[in-house]
Symmetry: C2
Subunit: 344 residues, 2 copies
């Protein structure tokens, strides 16, 4: 429905965490990304060709993806001015921000005048049910986190691909705007009405009987004071058989909240298992995913080994080192090892 290929918007961003939608598309769907748009004060790049709107259009781009995430999800003036210029140059606009493109009069007017399309990926479908918590067949894995933006989507996508490579049916279930743009389907969970959070997850991961797995993208953290309610409802709706905890070892404090420290990994594992048991009594934690992108390789390997030993769980940076050990634990095929023997 959204015309491809894309031009990815970085704008004035200087915080890598703010461009995660653009980056996710560049990493997981590079074949549909022709370039990136950034202003001179943007210190970030996705290693795509830098283009202005006219050049992108000439290179075949159909849609500018406003792939940035700011707290509150508001359309700022700078963003509106850029989107207007992109439309003038011939591009449609897609956005995962809370504030709808279609609700901004300047954008709606320009779209009507120029015949451009405005796509609001964060608009949930209208038929989401109330969650009922009834046990449903099928195997489901959910990623959870010590914080927001610690690699839950990456980890979930890596797990889905690796399962498929082992010949196991696996479906990535997207719960955020980037995941939806990547998968072509899913629910923008943080835009769902509060009473329907768990029902939305029940809806996107329905009963299945093919012995395959639903890999559900987690959101937020039970320890994030702004968003823990979303995480809680997600956990209950998922009825997960298995959890994977995602963590960013160099995050100095909870995202956006300098007055909040990150929880400890052990404490966070316990809290997530406790929450998940309400709808899935036998849920297991099957691995830890560390985002080590800011660390040298030797240091990253050492940290994974140390974390694995401390918590008795296969630990990896999924994007950097793969997820085979986590899958072995998930599928119950791991070789005997000191760690496995201790914790079996």
């Amino acid at each position: 429905m959204i015309a491809t290929p894309y031009l990815l918007y970085l704008g004035h961003s200087t915080d890598a965490a703010d461009i995660k939608t653009s980056r996710g598309l560049a990493v997981f769907r590079p074949e549909i990304c022709v370039g990136e748009f950034r202003h001179d004060d943007c210190s970030l790049t996705l290693e795509l060709p830098r283009m202005d709107f006219a050049a992108a259009r000439a290179a075949g781009a159909q849609t500018l993806v406003l792939g940035i995430a700011n707290a509150g999800g508001k359309l700022g003036d700078a963003l509106i001015v850029d989107a207007l210029a992109a439309m003038e140059a011939g591009l449609d606009i897609a956005s995962g921000l809370h504030q709808r493109l279609n609700a901004e009069p300047r954008l709606a007017e320009a779209a009507a005048r120029l015949g451009r399309k405005l796509h609001d990926v964060r608009e949930p479908r209208p038929d989401i049910p109330i969650g009922n918590g009834k046990p449903r067949p099928g195997k489901r894995l959910l990623t959870v986190g010590t914080d927001c933006s610690v690699g839950k989507m990456y980890t979930t996508l890596c797990l889905a691909r690796a399962l498929e490579q082992r010949g196991v049916a696996a479906d990535f279930r997207a719960t955020g705007q980037t995941g939806i743009l990547i998968a072509g389907d899913g629910v923008p969970l943080d835009a769902v009405i509060a009473d329907f959070i768990s029902g939305a997850i029940e809806q996107i991961s329905p009963a299945r009987s093919d012995d395959g797995w639903d890999l559900i993208e987690g959101q937020g953290s039970l320890y994030h004071p702004s968003f823990a309610g979303v995480s809680m409802g997600l956990i209950h709706g998922a009825q997960p058989d298995a959890l994977v905890l995602c963590h960013d070892p160099v995050r100095p404090h909870m995202r956006g909240l300098p007055h909040y420290d990150l929880p400890g990994i052990g404490e966070c594992i316990e809290a997530n298992l406790r929450a998940a048991r309400l709808t899935s009594a036998d849920v297991r934690m099957v691995g830890i995913a560390l985002n080590t992108s800011a660390m040298p390789e030797a240091e990253a390997v050492a940290l994974c080994a140390k974390t694995e030993a401390e918590f008795g769980l296969p630990t990896s940076d999924p994007y950097r080192f793969g997820v085979e050990a986590i899958l072995d634990r998930l599928l119950g095929v791991e070789a005997a090892s000191p760690v496995a023997a201790q914790t079996a």
Copy 2:
């Protein structure tokens, strides 16, 4: 804004829990309720004069309040037919259901044709911020529950009134449709977008410095698989100094979910304190409120005493026996007693 007095709708309801909005208005704002409307198959009454729409209009009623709550909050056909008849008889309509009156074409058409007003109390204000979890001055108490519909609104209103009677400034902060109709203000929390749950509570209970209390109406339960996300965000946004746990001792299972048992009181106290500590490190549980309306008085008194002894917390049915002991614990003025001495 909503014209009073009200005619309270009971419709075809046979489950007392379904008419809690109508009952809340009858109990806490009797001076603005002229009567009740119920069909012959409705087994419930609020002890108000039973009236049809024409009689209610003749008695001065201005608005029919659709004070019923069904899972999902949908407008059924029966409800629409009744609302149309009420409008023909000269009444406006107010509703706290999820599905908006204004979104139902038959109602919108009739309202336009007849000059009647449709009030959707569950429409949140548009300027709710993302929660930030920053410590804010002021004293706040939040009611929490083992389940939905166990008396959190009643308990909160009783606590607010009793505090005022002691000369302590106290404001009831409504988070549900009934509370909003009673208080004239508040947030319909279950209709808020998921990302804004805790921010909505921060907004309705802002910093205060008059040594008074905000009494925040709780919603749902951390143990309800449909709605726990709402409860979690509410707890974090409230930054409560004090919690009161509400419980219905004769509830056979979680509301609407026969496949889920209620949690134990002790377990539920621990879970709520644990969740609340994220934004309010020194939070205390100061009492237990039992809804004993289905029990003989002697049995109710005995159960309160037994519960108080078991958990070391002042325990009462607020509506039946008052909340003085809970306020004593809250304000730190309780007399020495065996229970108090054990748990001080």
